[in-house]
Point group: none
Chain length 430, copies 2
């Protein structure tokens, strides 16, 4: 298997002023053709540091480098390469002509400092730059094991790097890699923790397995990522599907979607499908919202989706007790008796929204998002979510442990999840 | 000078499925206290690779690590640490109690697999995690030169990592670093482009200047960042304040806030202050919202702020034409004549919301968020924003060039900006 290391060069990266997106992009490109990425490294615009970075080429088949090819004093990649190859820098006449031509075309005088961009360590080859002045550099080095290691140095500007990679680097690396490929799939769940998902997946998560199965968490969404690596793309895809099917079997309805799909998107799709009983599809506004602590976030999620007017007509942001009574006809007495954050009030909000809007489904959220307002009995993060549907109201109380943003986000996602299970006709398994 | 290396661990990073933002953030934090960052490295969830990554601690004073502390089989950081320290993993009773307590509070059974998160290499110390189950790990190693090198291992989830770093890691590293400092300040503007801000700032943006002044753009907010680097923290702060004052003089009311402040926060502060005329402070719900294309986003922004019940009581999400009439009493005839996206309708929505809610200020948004619904006359991105206040209604039409998310975000921010200028009693300068 062809192995690669990715090296990014630049003070702005090491100082954290710019987030390095080149490495992730290059990784995706290499993974897709079956190259195994050993690591990423980022070093500053410092000769010694770059030399150490370049030496990594002795530990892999391909070293992809970006940055440090500009015309200014802090661009030192070519000097570092010359140092590790133990050769001098020489002017490359063809590269110089291209450079002069580039400026001529822009009708600008070439600054003397740009001349350095036509200098190459002896024995290395320029890689054309179709989007800027700095040509790339191709060099070879021997690995510790005496194998040939290939170094491709590209500009740091993402646009120039991507164009150069696609045009001249990728074809060469693909030839080295042969037909092998890694293909991936992400499956998303919401509602249970990473460890529960891990336990359900069991031996599928064995580290030695191929396709491999791993989990990541973001915004409360626990995602299962399957990576399938085989000598041919066909085989990789075939094995990927088998493992994805195995994951689906173990996780069942916990999985709400794949790849780029969001919870709201999946719910939107269900709302526009047969999942809504025929008798209810008569109603234009299929779902409505009544939000207290989430203050519009749930409606915002439902309308994130293009074409949401097909299922959403109006929503109520009832932040105060009075507005729950004014807009949703929640009896003031009910609020006084149980408190605004209570299952009876959530239920009444959902019923009120359903009646006022004429929508067959109504989601209501009332909770304590914090940082203030918590009590020992109802601490910050206590949230009641109700779903009014054709045959009644389901209501649940949750505890979301986190800050205001966390509590609001998870509350809205949980409301969407309750609606999702109602629409697929399954009991929510948590 | 104290030196640091930053190590990120995770297959998803090495495969390019997730962009590593932790390293940049940690770099910023370390730079600010005068620590020199030698390099970043990223390695996969592989025992050997993590061990090699951790060995970097022998080349620096501080190694900051994130990732690989979860409860599943692909989380191997603690095992790798134990291997390089040549010590066994042992259960830490205090950490186990905290972990069990965490689950008890959530009223959930602790899965057996989570127990690994209470295991630590002998001689290392847990670092508390205030946002999740995985404690961090503090360890020490000797550098090649025989000096003590400190290893801080934190979770990979950015939020947990940041909280742990700020609370327990930063104070220790700061003590090591002493002396020189970079101090920074960000000033935020919304409404005009980066080039306009750049022109106004003029020579303040000279690259050789210290404190330096630069601009960045994110979510339509053009921010001015001032970095002041001097041999002492006092001097750095003093010079920072001078440059910040100079920037403020040139940008005036275009600046809405500083540092972490959001537009909504600034508006919230104004709504709770004397900026609201005394006669209007009588009304409990100071502001209300009537949203069509933003579908709840504006209300969500206003209620992002803790204590928002002091100025916000209710909002209306009127996505369809019918709901504008039903809830806000916008005459159907007006919509038919001018179209739902028009200044008269925006104005009527604002007036309707004002009257229905009793709030002295009402913001209304109606527009075409796309991707569909545009016409040659009213293309996607056309948005009308109205602000009803004590003495009338202000209404403006904007064109926001971007996708659905872009148009919705900018529309809500522009509504907040109109309210901000009303509250500070100035004409909006764009």
């Amino acid at each position: 298997m062809v192995t690669a290391i990715i090296l990014s060069i630049g003070d702005e990266l090491v100082l954290g002023q710019t987030v390095d997106t080149n490495s992730a992009w290059l990784s995706q490109q290499l993974s897709a053709i079956g190259v195994r990425i050993l690591s990423h490294a980022t070093v500053p615009d410092d000769l010694r540091a770059i030399e150490e970075g370049l030496i990594a080429a002795t530990r892999c088949n391909v070293l992809l480098v970006s940055g440090g090819l500009g015309p200014t004093e802090d661009d030192l990649t070519r000097q570092a390469l010359a140092a590790i190859l133990k050769v001098p820098l020489e002017i490359n006449e063809a590269a110089l002509r291209t450079l002069v031509g580039w400026f001529a075309e822009l009708k600008r005088e070439m600054p003397e400092s740009n001349k350095i961009q036509a200098m190459f360590p002896r024995g290395t080859t320029p890689i054309p730059n179709t989007c800027g002045t700095a040509p790339g550099i191709y060099a070879e080095l021997l690995t510790r094991g005496g194998q040939r290691s290939r170094i491709f140095i590209m500009p740091g500007v993402p646009k120039e790097m991507k164009a150069m990679f696609a045009r001249d680097v990728l074809p060469q690396v693909r030839k080295l890699a042969g037909g092998a490929a890694i293909v991936s799939r992400a499956l998303h769940t919401f509602g249970v923790g990473e460890s529960t998902i891990g336990e359900r997946l069991g031996d599928l998560m064995d580290r030695r397995r191929n396709p491999s199965v791993g989990t990541t968490v973001s915004g409360g969404v626990v995602s299962v990522r399957v990576n399938s690596y085989f000598e041919s793309r066909e085989r990789a895809l075939e094995e990927l599907e088998k493992t994805v099917a195995a994951c689906r079997e173990r996780l069942g309805e916990l999985i709400y979607g794949e790849e780029e799909q969001t919870l709201a998107e999946v719910v939107a799709k269900l709302l526009r499908s047969d999942a809504v009983p025929e008798a209810l599809r008569f109603y234009q506004p299929v779902v409505t919202t009544a939000e207290s602590c989430t203050g519009g976030l749930l409606a915002k999620m439902l309308t994130d989706i293009p074409g949401s007017s097909a299922y959403f007509r109006q929503g109520y942001v009832t932040y105060s007790n009075e507005s729950k009574t004014d807009l949703l006809l929640v009896p003031a007495e009910l609020i006084a008796r149980h408190g605004a954050v209570s299952e009876p009030v959530a239920e009444a909000m959902a019923r009120g929204a359903q009646e006022q809007s004429g929508a067959p489904y109504a989601l209501a959220i009332t909770g304590i998002a914090g940082p203030d307002g918590g009590t020992p009995e109802k601490p910050v993060g206590t949230v009641c979510v109700a779903l009014a549907h054709a045959s009644g109201v389901a209501v649940r109380t949750f505890r979301f442990p986190g800050d205001r943003e966390f509590v609001r986000d998870r509350s809205a996602k949980m409301a969407l999840t309750m609606l999702r299970f109602e629409l697929i006709g399954k009991r929510m398994p948590f």
